[in-house]
């Protein structure tokens, strides 16, 4: 079998809580505890759990924004947290992220084309920038002219498309989406989920898809990791977990998500 796109092994991350006493060391909070998973090219892994369960911390470690206290992340076989800075910078074009609030990654005072090109500039790519920005816009279903408009001229759903264009402009192999559809109306949410599936089919992207909504995760993910209090609770094929959840907690997420039941 070929090497998985991404393998995370035993990821663990602690944060110091505020000290309760000057005499004692600050107590530690384990935000992510000994969590392992793999993502294959062209596949989507869903991470689901209530807020505070460690999903975003996991994403930050996968993106190498944060270093784990234990465990490692192998991206295409390379330990990203052990790479020297220049090599990590080069590798970054291979993994990109989309957030819940697209405003966070779009500069309100610049045309969106400028923001979309930002990851290209970060890796020192300045040839063909315009052409690649336009290509990315068309890939997310927008007109190339959108590059010259400002963020406020777009609807929430369009802004999320722009944020996705920004994430795919470097032609990454992995996309990390943290609550990327959570703020959208159901109709727009469906459009963006379909877009992610289309991009995946066209580009062979691996996706780490994070959400608190088990119904949403169920619609797009091949495999699933359910987290609670930083710990992996169950993992497996999405269809199996949805049909037959092993934990009452997973069942409660299903109940929260259900209309059709």
């Amino acid at each position: 079998m070929s090497v998985p796109l991404l393998t995370a092994t035993g990821l663990t991350r602690h944060y110091a809580l505020p000290r309760t006493s000057l005499l004692r060391p600050a107590p530690l909070l384990t935000a992510v505890d000994n969590t392992s998973f793999t993502i294959n090219a062209g596949e989507t892994l869903g991470v689901v759990g209530e807020s505070g369960s460690g999903k975003s911390t996991l994403a930050r470690m996968v993106m190498a924004f944060e270093t784990p206290d234990a465990g490692e992340v192998l991206f295409q076989g390379q330990n990203i947290h052990a790479l020297p800075a220049p090599e990590l910078r080069k590798l970054r074009q291979q993994f990109q992220m989309v957030f819940q609030d697209p405003y966070g990654s779009l500069n309100p005072r610049r045309p969106v084309g400028w923001s979309i090109a930002e990851p290209l500039r970060a890796i020192g790519e300045d040839e063909n920038t315009n052409r690649r920005v336009k290509e990315a816009l068309e890939q997310v279903g927008l007109h190339a002219d959108a590059a010259d408009k400002y963020p406020h001229e777009f609807s929430g759903g369009q802004r999320q498309r722009i944020a996705i264009a920004r994430a795919i402009v470097t032609r990454p192999a992995l996309l990390v989406a943290d609550e990327a559809v959570s703020a959208l109306d159901v109709s727009v949410q469906a459009q963006i989920l379909n877009l992610l599936m289309d991009l995946q089919d066209d580009l062979g992207l691996g996706i780490l898809f994070i959400s608190h909504d088990l119904a949403v995760v169920g619609a797009i993910c091949d495999t699933l990791l359910v987290m609670q209090h930083g710990k992996p609770l169950e993992a497996g094929r999405t269809a199996d977990i949805l049909r037959n959840p092993a934990h009452a907690y997973t069942q409660s997420l299903l109940t929260a998500a259900g209309v059709h039941t």
């Binding site: 209530e50 929430g156 109306d185 159901v186 269809a239 929260a256």
Partner: protein
């Protein structure tokens, strides 16, 4: 206890609410759903006599049988505190960060009912218990930032209940909360409505929550009430194409994710987005996005058709179905 008749809210750009008709009786639990920009908040604010400046109001809004459309702010203030209360999406924004939450909750009781400090404090304590805040005596003395999002929303519910309203309007009360906290808050609102015989208007874009919490539902689009009926029936057999579109777009965990060829299924979507007020069609607001549109739709506003005592929809294609 509350009735809207052909009630409209007009801005220079267009109508944010168009000829709304609605009756709310004591103890009713009514859900209001629709994409953002459908006019849900405008409806909620209207029921509170808080339509924004620049709006022209028409039609009738009766509270306890009295038409309030021509009443002044003082009369509305009295209604707001004692008959109709509201909670909002963002609990942090609605609480004064520099005040202890107990003081915030006690204020309306002292102002509107003239309770003494001790009386108000006793009532605040029992309200905190009623809305499920653990260790209520200690919480009264805390500041908003010391509470979690779910606890803050409970404090706001306690504040809304301070003067025993007959109607509670909750505008997206769970949108800013986590899924499982959202379920607890929704269930709390239902319990309070039942125990107090208090009517509840529950506004949300979370259809799962509406399904669990309400008896009747209004579906809004572009400022129109496009469908109304018992929640379970509307969700099961929607009549209006917009309602159908919304329900189809919801991911369904019980549905297989791959088709017979092993290809991953796409979700059904409603094409396009909700237009701005000035761009809404003059006829059916959903024209231009509707999959079953006929030529008259864009020009002519469809009449609201009743199908049963408690069920209606406004769609030209329903007209043939009218008995």
């Amino acid at each position: 206890m509350l009735e809207l008749t052909d009630y409209s809210v007009n801005f220079s750009a267009g109508a944010a609410l168009r000829q709304a008709n609605l009756t709310i009786k004591p103890g009713d639990r009514l859900g209001i759903v629709g994409e953002s920009g459908s006019g849900k908040t405008m409806l909620a604010l209207s029921l509170m006599g808080m339509a924004p400046d620049g709006a022209t109001l028409s039609g009738a809004l009766c509270v306890d049988g009295i038409d309030m459309t021509q009443r002044n702010e003082i009369e509305w203030q009295n209604i707001r505190a004692r008959r109709v209360a509201m909670i909002f999406q963002e609990p942090m924004a609605a609480l004064n960060p520099l005040r202890r939450v107990g003081d915030t909750v006690m204020e309306p009781m002292r102002v509107h009912e003239g309770l003494s400090h001790d009386q108000a404090q006793a009532r605040a304590l029992s309200l905190f218990e009623e809305v499920g805040i653990p260790d209520p005596a200690a919480r009264l003395r805390q500041f908003p930032h010391e509470l979690s999002g779910g606890q803050r929303q409970r404090v706001l519910i306690a504040l809304a209940l301070a003067c025993n309203p007959a109607l509670l309007i909750a505008d997206e009360p769970t949108t800013a909360l986590d899924a499982n906290v959202a379920v607890l808050i929704t269930d709390l609102l239902v319990r309070l409505s039942q125990e107090r015989q208090m009517a509840l208007v529950f506004i949300t874009h979370d259809i799962a929550a509406v399904a669990r919490a309400t008896q009747d539902i209004v579906v809004m689009y572009g400022g129109d009430m496009v469908e109304y009926g018992p929640t379970a029936e509307v969700l099961k057999t929607p009549h209006h194409p917009y309602t159908k579109g919304l329900l189809d777009a919801l991911p369904d965990p019980s549905r297989t994710t791959h088709d017979a060829n092993g290809k991953r299924r796409r979700l059904p979507t409603i094409p396009g987005t909700v237009p701005q007020l000035q761009d809404l069609p003059q006829g059916c607001r959903f024209a231009g996005r509707c999959p079953v549109e006929v030529p008259q739709c864009a020009a002519q506003k469809p009449a609201t058709q009743s199908f049963a005592v408690n069920r209606s929809s406004a769609c030209h294609l329903n007209e043939g179905a009218k008995r």
